[in-house]
Symmetry: C2
Amino acid sequence: MSADKGLVENAAGRLVPTVVNGKEQVPFAGVAKHKPSGARAAPSLASCADFPADGNKVVKDLKTALKAAGLKDGMTISTHHHLRNGDFVANMVFDAVSEMGIKDTMWFPSASFPCHSHNIQHLDSGVIHHIEGSMNGPLGEYCSRGKMRGLGVLRSHGGRYQAVQDGEVHIDIAVIAAPTSDAFGNSNGLTGPAACGLLGFALADSQYADKVIVITDNLIPFPCIPWQIQGNYVDHVVVVDKIGDREKIVSGTTKITRSPDRLLIAELTARFVREAGIMKDGFSFQGGAGGTALAFAIYLRGMMKEAGVKARFVRGGSTRYLVEMLEEGLTDYILDGQTFDLEGVRSMGENPGHVWTSPFTSYNYHGKGNFASQVDAVVLGATEVDVNFNANVVTHSDGKLLHGIGGWQNCLFSRCTILPIPSFRDRIPVLVDEVTTLCGPGELIDVIVTERGIAINPLRKDLLDAVKGSDLPIRDIRDIKADVERICGGAPQKPRFEDKVVAAIKWVDGTVIDSVRQISG
Amino acid sequence: MSADKGLVENAAGRLVPTVVNGKEQVPFAGVAKHKPSGARAAPSLASCADFPADGNKVVKDLKTALKAAGLKDGMTISTHHHLRNGDFVANMVFDAVSEMGIKDTMWFPSASFPCHSHNIQHLDSGVIHHIEGSMNGPLGEYCSRGKMRGLGVLRSHGGRYQAVQDGEVHIDIAVIAAPTSDAFGNSNGLTGPAACGLLGFALADSQYADKVIVITDNLIPFPCIPWQIQGNYVDHVVVVDKIGDREKIVSGTTKITRSPDRLLIAELTARFVREAGIMKDGFSFQGGAGGTALAFAIYLRGMMKEAGVKARFVRGGSTRYLVEMLEEGLTDYILDGQTFDLEGVRSMGENPGHVWTSPFTSYNYHGKGNFASQVDAVVLGATEVDVNFNANVVTHSDGKLLHGIGGWQNCLFSRCTILPIPSFRDRIPVLVDEVTTLCGPGELIDVIVTERGIAINPLRKDLLDAVKGSDLPIRDIRDIKADVERICGGAPQKPRFEDKVVAAIKWVDGTVIDSVRQISG
């Protein structure tokens, strides 16, 4: 036990708060150790008698909708990141909340992006009390500097679904940005000027929030098909000029890395997947939109073609490279969580094999299984990895909280989790003795691929055996780390923190796996 | 108030039980009068830690699954009618329950068919205590004769979803017949030897039952796309040789009526829809699979073509006639609740505009609106209609309970509800002073079309005005009734009943709209 007031040591040896934003917490108890008790959240019953028979739920503007939804001080308001850094909606929402004179709200985004630094004024003024949700960039830094009144709470995509489903977070009002909607509230992300692909991040909110507002710039006649969000869960529909900036919602084209080191890492990763026997007919893998992950998928595609191997499914974040694989017949399906480029959006609308999923299907740990554990191999990033394969994905080595968890924690449950990472960045080693923030327990991380060799988690004797005799540069993680420290002039300096805890990191089961402290200076 | 013990008079003047199968009831209070309080049913939380990481939930056989699901005396077990009169599963289930020595279960089918008369032995022996669900044919007669220990409870498709969602019915174990499934439990009805189209009737069960068993004769590799039932809700998967008799699941071809009277009724109905101005660009209607409803759709199609009118959507039960309309471009969408023939199944698999719906989207009255009230015109059947437009759809004029409610009550909320019915059947008038069993309040029934003329509900002055000046044979319902009684030699004899109540008829909001008594003799 620590002397830190209100903190306890969890099963990973991390000091975590026992109370977060007024709510009792369960410290991380180990992978698959904490079992939920109780029941799913139970929203109030509605009646068709209280909704327009003609199905027209359109109200004049956002303020009218928020008022009708009963907006009050202290409420929890959710938004979603399917419009990514092009989103206008989360800013509109808190501008309206501010103009209505409401204070102390909790903002519960599925993620926030640099475009949302606009809302810092509403944090400063007290309109937003705190944020629970990924804070990419400026809002993360704001939190890191101890400026937020409440604690930031970071959850994975699956953990967010779990928290809402389990009633850990009660959403009073959900505002769902919809690239296309009908007046009843059926919505999708496939068409319209702000087309983003799918709306899966808002699924939990639609199902469990007290009041649901759909906001669109592309209202079409009932029925909006497919209804990725079902109007049967929606209270009000608001039509605005523009919900987002098309250019920043999806890339026109996704960029592959040009760095020779990263290309080497990507190729080694693909070769590992092949040599370990994972790449075989009917297998599955998760791609990604990062430069290295993209390059990995392209290398693997080449190897699959060469070997005449076809995948059963590929998990997106989809890009044109995955779409090409689908259209070339190299996979039966893309099971997609978000589309990263225009080709992804097009394909999801056109190809029956390009399937939209949600954090419920893919990641919710408090379901009767999910898809994540059925993926043969995933490649993920990390900001730091320690010699026990524990990994960090939210803070940089300077201690700043600059990234969300995304689906990262959820994906660790795949049959083979591979982190293709450079062994150092800006002359700061990525391989460390102890990660600044623990996001993923080492027992779930199987392989680290660096430009200096591949380290396999000793727990995975099967993988060590599988690549024995291959010409892959398999090395001990400590040896790679020693190399890197020689190059960089030693282990990285530990970041300097204040005592104050500014954020809690949740595990997929709702327990607290780590905390983040205010940075010094 | 009545002298009948335990019965009260509801807002429709019907005597209904205050307690049904041990549960307190709310008497029907009028259309849109009863508002639900409380919250949605809240199933226990699950954890991925308790499910196989490889996603393989297949167990040896049905008994193993039922045992693993914790089957006990007195439990509620649900099945579904998407395999209609070709279903093998509901019989298999109760054979297994019987062999396991379990007693006093409640069978909660979405509907039962003549093929399920097999289960009468299990009612006789005490394995099944009673049935809550539509009882078409022999099981209805069994109930009518007072042989069931508990009360039959009849609900509409939407009412069944509402009852499960609201926690009025708690399902311990749901067994879902799946024409195609993967080992994780993702299922659909689109392919496989028992292909039936869609599995919407089982949606509520998958979401709210404690334990969910999927039973299939067509196991495919993960993922089963589309997942009409989501494996994330499924506990166990069972593979058997055959879940149904293909010939009886869907018709090879749907049959149009050849009766000249019924053809006349169908044509008058289509003409009414046209003359009343309902048939216009962007309109919607609900078809049906009955001979008259089919003929109506064919007449209407002809009129639409002639007038160059296109529908926005058509509600199924789909048949090849609706599919032809979709494929000819006469409608943008079929919003389908069940497919009645092979062409319907094919189209649902192939046409993105042929959309599978569920009782949640279409009919649940305790949602934030539903689709039923957005349909411009529906045509429905009835066994009896009274002079105030109240209608019966469950009992025959001899008092026997032989039909379920289906989506009938839910569809009454459309903008124009039309009952095309013969004015008499087997020389027994269909138009009566008072219906034997009240299923639909007259205020929701707008038009009666018979071979002797069309009666418009006086409440619908707008419709009376709309057809003024047309050459349609608009008549007072009492005049048509008088005609019919002249032909048939008077009003029909009232059926003879015992005092004992054998079934309760629920309204869409869970209140009791009427009761059915044991038939005499």
